[in-house]
Symmetry: C2
Subunit: 317 residues, 2 copies
């Protein structure tokens, strides 16, 4: 029998899963709600049911050899999800342990961006790289740091939270409770906040002035930039400047071979890559200049989170 | 015969060396000039002569099993010293390779702060720790980052340059050529620069106003702080604020168990530790608050650089 692993990506609203073989093929996929249950045990029971249904679709020639989970605030060392503010579970949930009620195989868990970094390493653009950083740009900014071929988990299992390095003392309010975190500037909502600041301060006309804060999203800013909208263009430049400067700090920490950008904002191509690269190089110490590749994720149109969660298992097999 | 290694700490003016046994005892020490020679080969020849002389003092019961070198811009992967701005050697010097002309044993080389981090791990306060950061405060700010029990060298061998993360865009001019690097604010010259800014902007009297820029040093600022000098106290507070905020960024990268401060400024005790800790905690993401110990180096009055250079060899034996 061929071996297969289950990769699970837990988001605030939906949980996506797939059956991933060693080559990174998704043999079956599915979705289960995350926030429709009272607590994590009821959630897990429903998810296990959906998994069993999907299992039927991959046929009998496969044996499930492990489960990898990417979850917000996932603690790799303990297999727990701890005080995740965007999940309706309270406190510390021993998710990996509970999962073994349904599948008696090794269950590994880390946060979603760490899982994406593993996916990049095993199936994406970081194949063969020992030192790189993965940045996921979505409603927040997630990151996974790989040093010498291994994910950096840190003493407590939560390392790699580059969305929460500080851009500006007393800056924008972040969901984490702090002020001025990188993800309040560099993420889909972050660039929208920048557009609104620019609409308030810039005198040039912009098509973006027709939208309410609730209506506007980062795709609309991208579309406006393509049409040459000055506010949209300036917003991308500012976003890249802030990201580039902070990535230079990250390079000073771990000196990676490459930095990958993944997710919605990363699909804006040169609008985000050009200023990010320019300001990163400008901020880098001489030793590191013109050495670090800034690249789009090699998994941009694939399900990096599910593949990465699966890679938690495949990496050590 | 017992085994011993040679630990070498290359500074801009002097090179210090010692014969270090497995327990971290310094059996003999010595000093040789760094900048008194035309190029690195002449330097090495003289150093080797001094080492042979000192070798006589450790007796015949020891066998030299390796040489560890801490050097500015030391590349661990290649054993080279590359474009070191504070040494009078040009370009890329294959120091480890050349060293084997004199001692036919394994020769390992890294930068001085990385060596100090190894010293802390093997002989100092980080014994048994897998994840920590060493910060050396001297004429610059050096750092060594340990993740999962290993130093982070990065793709090019130069990782861990926290002295050159950016504090302020367009800030103070740094020896590296950039503006606003951390070490221009947090180091012995850095706090002096802060005092001079404060003397220019603050209306309160200060004993420090009697000294020229060339006369003033960080020990004098420490002495003034002990007497309650308002400018000296404010300078320490600002220095700690800047260091604390940037250390919070470092925690978001690698989530260490502890951060050690070593060197002159670190000897200022609470004047530097108190504000650094306060502002670090204030800046940390909730996940990391009250978890990371900020501690003085356990090797504060020992020769951390020589012990650490020796630890390059002992670590893997």
């Amino acid at each position: 029998m061929k071996e297969v692993v289950i990769g699970i990506d837990i988001g605030g609203t939906f949980t996506k899963f797939g059956f991933v073989d060693r080559e990174g093929n998704l043999l079956a996929e599915g979705v289960s709600p995350t926030d429709a249950f009272e607590g994590a045990e009821a959630y897990l029971e429903h998810l296990a049911g959906e998994l069993k249904k999907a299992e039927g679709r991959i046929g009998e020639a496969y044996r499930i050899v492990g489960v990898g989970i990417g979850a917000p605030n996932g603690n790799y060392h303990k297999g727990t999800v701890e005080n995740a503010t965007n999940l309706n579970w309270k406190g510390i949930v021993p998710l990996a342990q509970w999962f073994r009620r349904y599948y008696d195989v090794p269950v590994k868990l880390t946060n979603d961006a760490n899982a994406a970094a593993l996916g990049e390493m095993i199936y994406g653009g970081a194949k063969g790289m020992k030192d790189f950083i993965m940045i996921t740009l979505g409603t927040g900014l997630g990151s996974g740091i790989v040093v010498n071929g291994d994910l950096v988990y840190g003493h407590d299992g939560f390392a790699g939270e580059l969305g929460h390095v500080n851009v500006q003392r007393g800056g924008r309010a972040c969901g984490c409770g702090n002020l001025g975190c990188l993800e309040t500037y560099v993420s889909a909502p972050g660039i929208k906040r920048t557009v609104f600041e620019l609409l308030a301060s810039d005198h040039r006309g912009s098509g973006l002035a027709d939208y309410s804060f609730n209506e506007l999203n980062s795709e609309m800013i991208y579309e406006a930039a393509k049409k040459g909208d000055p506010i949209a263009l300036r917003a991308f430049d500012i976003t890249g400047q802030i990201l580039g400067a902070k990535l230079a700090d990250s390079v000073a920490h771990t000196s990676p071979e490459a930095i990958f950008l993944f997710g919605g904002l990363a699909k804006s191509g040169d609008f985000i890559f050009h200023p990010t690269k320019k300001y990163m190089e400008e901020s880098l110490m001489g030793t590191f200049k013109n050495k670090v590749r800034l690249m789009p994720s090699g998994l941009m149109d694939k399900n990096a989170a599910i593949l990465g969660a699966g890679a938690l298992i495949w990496k050590d097999k």
